[in-house]
């Protein structure tokens, strides 16, 4: 029995309660909890690499009656990413909120969000997934409304109703699974789920709910306003982590739990929607007037790439080729997590220092805020998918898998998407390097610019150069056992 997974849930939860009790010290509590959870996540990933998947039965009750936590390579990798993104964003947040009240409201919700996210990534119980999905959604909505402006509250309200519809559809699917198989334990269900109408209906309901939550085109309409109007550290977590959590559940359900029951034709549908998301999201990002809106539409596009991997993974025969493609999918998700959070934090620095984030008025930013401009460029490299970023290797993998299984359609989509991404990144940089005022206020200290730079360097350098380790780490994931 291993208790490390428990700490990833308990630490942020305890810190959230502590932050409510001691609002004056909430920033300290938050940052310390961030450091501690990051170290635990690293330690847990180490153990997973050494000994394989960790399973913890909470309270010593065996799954079936009790609830199990499971840390396999996929969840461990995502946990390392999310704890590091959360740590850097939290570090940035200590300087972002100048209002004491806002600071005191931010930390408990932030820590609750992380607790729910970690619990979801570790859960091996279908109903627990529903509960964590709701907890994640509710705390994300409250955080998105924290800015307090009319646009932020309206976007948060829409985010809430969309999220509730999504989780109810998910819950209906969970109920059907329990009615048919009499269990919610995913470790047990993975052995008994078969291709039959009840399974398909349940998968359909759960997928519909998750697609709404993961903002796959054309269900993305709620994302750009909610992400663009939230405070910068919150936008970073929403775009990098919260949306990714729904995609994680899609990976779990389609490629793991329901693998024996899904058909490649339906995966094609996911891929086509993903392709539309790549093109539409990139195009809207190119037309965006504000930097944060650009970042939000770029999230719509980048999530599209993740869904293009689904039909490819279904078509690849079990073995090395599929493992490599799966590694590419996870690498893409990790790189986007780091790059997008970096971009949102950098946008926050620009918005606070220049007083706005209108792209066409960014002139002089490169001179006034050189580190932040460099960060935007580094994050941009990862979003376009240029070497040496992790996204370059992931897209390479996507293209070579597409060619290997003869799904040629994805090749032009990836090419056009990357070209438009280059256009929107260079559009921002072009204005930033132009003449102008840049920043009206001087920087106070390094904690504004450094967290974003750290995240962008991880996306562009560490994940690209260390990609072999990611693949090696994920190799034991034996996904899609039933497909041929």
């Amino acid at each position: 029995m291993n208790s490390l997974p428990v700490w990833l849930v308990v630490l942020p939860l305890a810190a959230a309660l502590l932050a409510v009790v001691m609002p004056a010290r909430s920033a300290w509590i938050g940052v310390l909890a961030g450091i501690a959870t990051f170290l635990v996540a690293i330690g847990m990933a180490w153990q997973v690499a050494e000994t394989g998947t960790l399973i913890h039965a909470l309270g010593g009750w065996d799954p079936g009656l009790g609830i199990a936590l499971r840390a396999d390579p996929l969840s461990a990798a995502l946990l390392v990413m999310s704890t590091l993104v959360a740590l850097a964003s939290g570090w940035y947040a200590t300087g972002y909120f100048t209002d004491k009240d806002q600071q005191a409201r931010f930390w408990p919700l932030w820590l609750l969000l992380l607790s729910a996210l970690h619990a979801m990534l570790l859960s091996a119980d279908l109903f627990n997934l529903y509960v964590t999905l709701e907890l994640l959604g509710l705390s994300a909505v409250a955080l998105a409304a924290l800015g307090g402006g009319r646009a932020a509250v309206a976007a948060a309200l829409r985010y809430l109703t969309v999220g509730l519809i999504g989780s109810l559809a998910f819950l209906a699917g969970v109920a059907l699974i329990y009615a048919r198989y009499g269990s919610l334990d995913m470790l047990f269900l993975a052995r008994v789920i078969g291709p039959e109408p009840a399974t398909w209906l349940a998968l359909g309901l759960m997928t519909a709910g998750l697609l709404l939550k993961s903002a796959l085109f054309p269900l993305h309409f709620w994302l750009p306003p909610a992400h663009a109007n939230a405070p910068a550290p919150v936008s970073a977590a929403l775009s990098a982590l919260v949306v990714k959590a729904a995609v994680y559940l899609m990976i779990r359900l389609w490629l793991d739990l329901f693998a024996p029951a899904v058909s490649p034709d339906l995966a094609w549908l996911l891929g086509l929607l993903g392709a539309a998301a790549v093109l539409w999201g990139s195009w809207q990002a190119l037309r965006a007037q504000r930097l944060k809106l650009l970042a939000a539409y770029s999230t719509v596009a980048q999530l599209g790439y993740l869904f293009i991997f689904f039909p490819l993974l279904m078509a690849l025969p079990a073995g090395a080729a599929r493992e490599t493609a799966f590694g590419g999918l996870v690498l893409m998700a990790l790189t986007h997590g780091f790059a997008k959070s970096a971009l949102f934090l950098a946008a926050g620095v620009i918005q606070q220092r220049a007083g706005h984030d209108r792209i066409e008025e960014l002139g002089g930013t490169a001179r006034a805020l050189p580190v932040t401009t460099f960060t935007v460029a580094l994050a941009g490299i990862a979003l376009i998918g240029l070497p040496p970023s992790g996204a370059f290797l992931a897209k390479w993998q996507l293209l070579s898998s597409a060619i290997a299984v003869g799904q040629w359609l994805w090749v032009p989509v990836v090419a056009v998407g990357s070209l438009i991404a280059a256009a929107y990144v260079f559009r921002v940089l072009g204005y930033a390097f132009g003449p102008g005022e840049g920043a009206r206020k001087a920087l106070s200290d390094g904690r504004e610019e450094l967290p974003a730079l750290l995240l962008a360097s991880v996306a562009t350098a560490v994940l690209g150069l260390g990609a072999a380790a990611v693949w090696q780490f994920l190799a034991p994931m034996a996904l899609l056992p039933g497909a041929s």
Binding site: F127, V131, E134, L138, V141, A142, A145, G148, G149, R150, V153, A154, A156, L157, L160, T161, L164, I165, L168, A169, L171, A172, V174, A175, Y178, A179, L184
Partner: protein
Amino acid sequence: MMPFTETLYALVGVGLFALGLRGALLRRSLLGRVLSINVCGAGVFLLLIAIAYQGPGVPPDALPHALVLTGIVVAVSATALALALGRRLREADHE
């Protein structure tokens, strides 16, 4: 053969879910949408209650009932959050 009452409960649950979903997607007023989402949730809960039935004289399965309780807690908190945000929105409009 499924007993009549259980089937009835399950079908009513599915009906409520569909009705609530329709309202949640089509209603324009916030209150209407929040109520629709609650009706939709009640449908899922009714489905879970029907699932728990195990035959005449046999005690019902306790697990789906526990799920419904958790679900109600979540639904109440979500409704409260939606109403609070709605009030904030109205205040912003009146300023």
